[in-house]
Symmetry: C2
Subunit: 352 residues, 2 copies
Amino acid sequence: MSDGSTLTRSERLLRACRGEAVDRPPVWLMRQAGRYLPEYRAVRAGLSFLDTCRDVERAVEISLQPLRLVGTEAVILFSDIFVPVLSLGIDIDFQPGPVIATPIRSVDAVERLTEPDYEASIPYVFEILRRLRAILEPEQVPLLGFAGAPFTLAAYLVEGQGSRHFAALKRLMYAEPDVLRVLLDRLTEMTVSYLNAQIDAGAQVVQLFDSWAGILAPADYRRWVLPTHRAIAERVDRRRAPLILYVNDGAHVLDEMAETGADVLSLDWRVDLADAAARVGRRASLQGNLDPCALAAPPDAIAKMVGELARAAAPARGHVLNLGHGCLPETPIAGVRAFTEAARKLAEPGGR
Amino acid sequence: MSDGSTLTRSERLLRACRGEAVDRPPVWLMRQAGRYLPEYRAVRAGLSFLDTCRDVERAVEISLQPLRLVGTEAVILFSDIFVPVLSLGIDIDFQPGPVIATPIRSVDAVERLTEPDYEASIPYVFEILRRLRAILEPEQVPLLGFAGAPFTLAAYLVEGQGSRHFAALKRLMYAEPDVLRVLLDRLTEMTVSYLNAQIDAGAQVVQLFDSWAGILAPADYRRWVLPTHRAIAERVDRRRAPLILYVNDGAHVLDEMAETGADVLSLDWRVDLADAAARVGRRASLQGNLDPCALAAPPDAIAKMVGELARAAAPARGHVLNLGHGCLPETPIAGVRAFTEAARKLAEPGGR
């Protein structure tokens, strides 16, 4: 194994996350189990999104689909970032975006949240993970868990729903900072214990999704978001499962991301990987970052782009090949297959 | 005037745009005439957005409102980025976002577009500008014109409407690049002649709004967007009216923006102005860039943020104080007033 040429899929991903030598970048895709797959739509048929997350059999099947169908090299828990929030006594409806009947906009509202008991309130998450791990272990395919980051969860909980500008959230930030601070603290606690519970249940890597932190100016990000990422990186058991940090639209906060202590920084397509490798140095591996829309290109063009990404990321301490954002409903399956195939054909790049 | 202390509002803005000495940054706000003003809502009452743009009396009144109501120091034409597109024979409906009945997705569709005759098809734009200039000239208040940038217009024309991911647009980019190229060329031609016609009608500064170019990776931006901005900067009569280039969510393409030849780069709040000043150097002045949501802060906090912005931008060759995005419907009027007031109280910053 010293030449890295006989790595299992689990070894390849774990080593890349930790910056150890690998033969080539491992590959998986954010939202690889999703609406672009007819098989996913068939399993979901008639079921609400949240009910699908709660249905262990179906969630296991959906999680595994991309392994057979598109050649991904890792499986990620099928669930939603709002599932742990259900443990806080918050009512969420999906219409299809998350809608919170009573937005949280006061310290009192934060203090009324219940103490989460995950095994009691959302046992299916851990049952899905345990079953997946049992299935994947013999094949040495790695299993990822995930959570939404505190700022992103707070954005919806304060706003009551998705938003383009998140003006209610930012109003708190600028006019009632104490409310946002206690809410973020509460959600940080939740995220740490939730991710550690996923690791206990078999997750070998965990990814933190901060979908909305990129709406902040660098100074606001440093004040509000960076402490939450740092606390999570410190307190999640990263010896057992490396932590991947994804910040959507975060090109302007890459330097701050590199200060978190996360093992891997997952970057969207707006970031040039060569530039990121130079700025991040040995502090973290990189994940990404093809524009999911580029999967509409012909297969040879996709292979060319994958080669360019791998070369650009070669100076990084490690590289996990992925998209810069989740697969979209319009993503062509042929494009996804071309992406994973191109990854497998990569010759040992950049001396890793 | 050698000490710059007796500048008119027109002089202050024009000099700041061109990097000449001023006493303090001029101030105006993107979308300063908008729904956050009850007076705006009153004038609009019962009229569609497009009909308001076509109504010369009302559009003049709306354009002037922020001058009296919130202390802005420049007036911008009240119109919409889609108005010139009407001259190409494209039907657009506002519901309230722009909806194009027949999206443009082929070279044929581009070739069927009609040659614009602005004075015949959208004479009201120029009539509004002429009236505004006649009113503002005695007070020496500067008048801005504007246009949507080709990529942003193309995004809607291809997609048929607003979108989060613009997958149809990007599908063209990756799978049928020739279609997008001819469409962008056509829209670049239109934008050049439209902005020059606005300058003929009295606009003293023109701003190009690229609301969606920030969705692109730096390499795609360089290939698809930069040439359109460069062509516009070359061919718009900048001796008569400096050109401001705004790219929303463009922190990752600042270096490319600095290569366009635009007189002023208008930056959203994600960009640190001190960093931008260092990277842009003498190539352009800067405009911006307070998060519009920050106008929810108390007046003294707004004044502090304005002071910080002015200090950060002081090393730039010139600075036009503005938001990093347009005023939002929820923006408090008191916050807008605090913003312009803080600008007027700025002591000569940074040796300008």
